[in-house]
Amino acid sequence: MWRSMSACGCSRLGLLLGLAACGDPLVGEQYLGEPMLSFWGTVLVSDGAADTDADADVGVAVVWNPGPGGEQLRPEEKLTTETDFPARYVINLLAPPIPEVMHTLPDGTDNRGSIGLVVVYRDVNGNGRVELADEALLGVAEDIGVIWHEGPEEGAEASPTEPPRGYGVVRRTADQCGGLPPERIQEATEPVDIVMGDICEAVIDPDCNPDTSEWGPICGGGAPPEGPPPPGGPPP
């Protein structure tokens, strides 16, 4: 009896117990949560963009504009990415931006949030994260950005003009200070192609205050240039 149970009976019992497995998929220690924003598409290289070697260890990342008074772009750390360069990419943002990059958005309202740039970089140390001090940016999405709307505080009455709390993909304008607010174009349902252009500079003063605005090269590393930005905002 023991032998027959161990052979046929156990396999049937195992099958039955396997069928008992139901419900939500369970996760392990590697689970990072559900993406708050997921977008994907193709990286297109325009004239003047840095060379992107197909064999290079290349990654995509989101870096946050530090806002008024901020000094450095802050890479988003809570994200996952997949790249199949030289073309395809996926970015999953898993958490809101850190408080240090929250500021009043330059959209003429008091809405707070963050604006981020999608960058392509050479992952020198292979850790899957962009480290601006050590790793060279190969390019910046020239017309696509990421925006986080803080939304109303919990319990506060929402403004009818205020976007809901959450992420969105926005189309950057060449003259950002003149073209804001950025147009929210994507809710993670369509592919977002990134044109990686030669705009290796980005405004790091989103309030467009000439007295406080600074320009800095973000491609290839290095320190931002001294002095005020040129009149009229960033170069086209």
Binding site: G18, V27, E29, Y31, G33, K78, A95, P96
Partner: protein, 506 residues
């Protein structure tokens, strides 16, 4: 009744009487008979007790294992010649058979010896008295033969005396019944009890002599008891010639042999094993003070009451007397008693079990989970059933979020336990179902998850009794655990180990 006759038969081992015996049998009957396992062993046991206690000299005992009909005819003829030549005042012939038979003949290794012929051979032997004992299927027919009466067993008392010159026939089963072998007894049921009775268990009068009537009454009662839960009851039968009035003494417990006596101080049911506890030497229902004769050797004595099982290790000295009383008997832990009490004891032991341990992660990286357990356990003679519940919690932190996982479930285990002294070892299988609940702390989005999982695994168990009602055990194993995954059922191999305390409630 002649006083001379009576005195002669009450002194069976005295010089003027000579006893001859033929014990024969075979495991193999006709081609259509299912081979027996213990017939030859029964022959050896009966031969041994006849030599040790029955007054049969070794040279007057003929053992035939794997016998044929011609073997038996030849042996009885030659023994008849020796009996005729004997100068003893009296002679007794004992013939014992173990094997297959039908209503008409013994089945002997592919040959047949008609029952009428056997009875004629025995009856015509030049002995003053003859005893024929048949432990075989359907042999009850013989007790209905002409000139004999099938006795009502409990109406036979010591005063029903065997004729000194007559013939007595004991058969293991009534007409139409099958005699039965027992793997537990490692012999025929009838023969096992007959031998135990001849060794002293049947000495109802306490005079250190076991008469034919005593042996029959004891064997009848014990055989009936042993087969009471078997598919067919087995009623030994007894018939005798009515021409005399003496009762025959089969064995003398004070015989001068290489044996000792074991006195059982308490009334009850005893199982006597060899020192290893594996081979059953005797099983008897004893009155207080019953003595039985055993070979000088160490034994394990097991005494059963309706509720408990006790054991004692004893040494039976050559020619000496060993007593087993309350001070020698130790109460077995109830779980062990359920297993060691014997298949016919049928008293399971129920216990409450609580404990705790650890188990491997349900998913990679979640770490070792502390688990609390509680449940019921039922020890039976063959299997131990475990019905339990468990609860555990573990977690992990990966920089992005903190995972907290709770697990609660039920399980059923089937474990085969074996006892090695006070220690019990076991192996078996456990199946169960768990609910798993995962919660997350994160600045992002991570809804809680809940799932039902199934598991099946192998377990091993090590257990010791610290008290007849309390055990401490360690049980560990490996499970295959099935849980829902993103696309298909995920299988995880989950080791686990736990320490538990059991309290037997009955």
């Amino acid at each position: 009744v002649s006083p001379l006759w009576l005195a002669a038969w009450m002194a069976v081992a005295e010089a003027e009487e000579r006893r001859f015996a033929v014990v024969f049998g075979t495991n193999r009957g006709d081609a259509s008979d299912e081979p027996l396992r213990y017939a030859d062993q029964d022959v050896r046991r009966v031969g041994d007790v006849l030599v040790e206690l029955g007054g049969v000299a070794p040279e007057d005992l003929v053992r035939l294992e794997g016998a044929t009909a011609d073997d038996v005819r030849g042996v009885l003829r030659r023994l008849g010649e020796r009996m005729a030549a004997s100068t003893a005042d009296r002679t007794l012939l004992l013939v014992y058979y173990s094997g297959h038979a039908d209503a008409l003949a013994l089945h002997l290794s592919g040959t047949r010896l008609p029952l009428d012929e056997l009875k004629r051979l025995v009856s015509s032997a030049p002995a003053d008295a003859r005893v024929l004992v048949l432990d075989a299927c359907r042999t009850g027919e013989l007790t209905r033969t002409r000139g004999a009466t099938q006795a009502q067993p409990f109406e036979i008392v010591v005063s029903d005396e065997l004729a000194a010159s007559g013939l007595a026939i004991l058969t293991s089963a009534a007409a139409g019944e099958d005699a039965q072998e027992s793997d537990r007894l490692q012999g025929g049921v009838f023969t096992h009890h007959l031998v135990s009775g001849m060794r002293g268990a049947a000495d109802a009068s306490g005079d250190a002599r076991v008469t034919l009537s005593e042996a029959y009454q004891y064997t009848y009662a014990q055989t009936l008891l042993t087969t009471s839960d078997a598919p067919m009851l087995q009623h030994p039968s007894f018939a005798f010639d009515l021409t005399g009035r003496d009762d025959l003494i089969l064995t003398r417990l004070d015989s001068d042999s290489h044996a000792g006596r074991l006195r059982l101080a308490l009334e009850g049911e005893y199982l006597i094993f060899d020192a290893s506890g594996r081979d059953l030497v005797a099983e008897l229902q004893a009155e207080a003070g019953t003595s039985i004769v055993l070979d000088a050797a160490p034994y394990l004595v097991r005494w059963r009451t309706p509720e408990h099982v006790f054991e004692a290790d004893v040494e039976v000295p050559d020619g000496g007397l060993t007593e087993v009383g309350p001070e020698h008997l130790r109460l077995l832990p109830l779980g062990q008693a359920a297993r060691r009490g014997g298949e016919d004891w049928h008293r399971p032991a129920l216990s409450l079990v609580v404990g705790g341990g650890v188990m491997g992660p349900v998913r990679e990286g979640l770490g070792v989970m502390p688990v609390a357990r509680a449940g019921l356990r039922l020890d039976t003679s063959f299997l131990t059933f475990q019905l339990g519940a468990r609860y555990g919690r573990d977690g992990a932190e990966n920089g992005q979020l903190t995972i907290t996982e709770d697990l609660a479930g039920a399980e059923l285990g089937l474990v085969r336990m074996a006892d090695v002294g006070p220690i019990s070892l076991g192996a078996g299988i456990v199946a169960g179902v768990d609910g798993v609940f995962q919660r997350f702390e994160t600045p992002g989005v991570a809804p809680p998850r809940s799932a039902l999982t199934g598991r099946l695994g192998a377990v091993g168990r090590f257990e010791g009794a610290v008290h007849p009602r309390v055990s401490i055990g360690v049980q560990g194993g490996v499970d295959a655990m099935w849980s829902p995954g993103e696309d298909e059922v995920h299988t995880e191999v989950v080791p686990h180990v736990a320490l538990d305390v059991g309290l037997w409630v009955f």
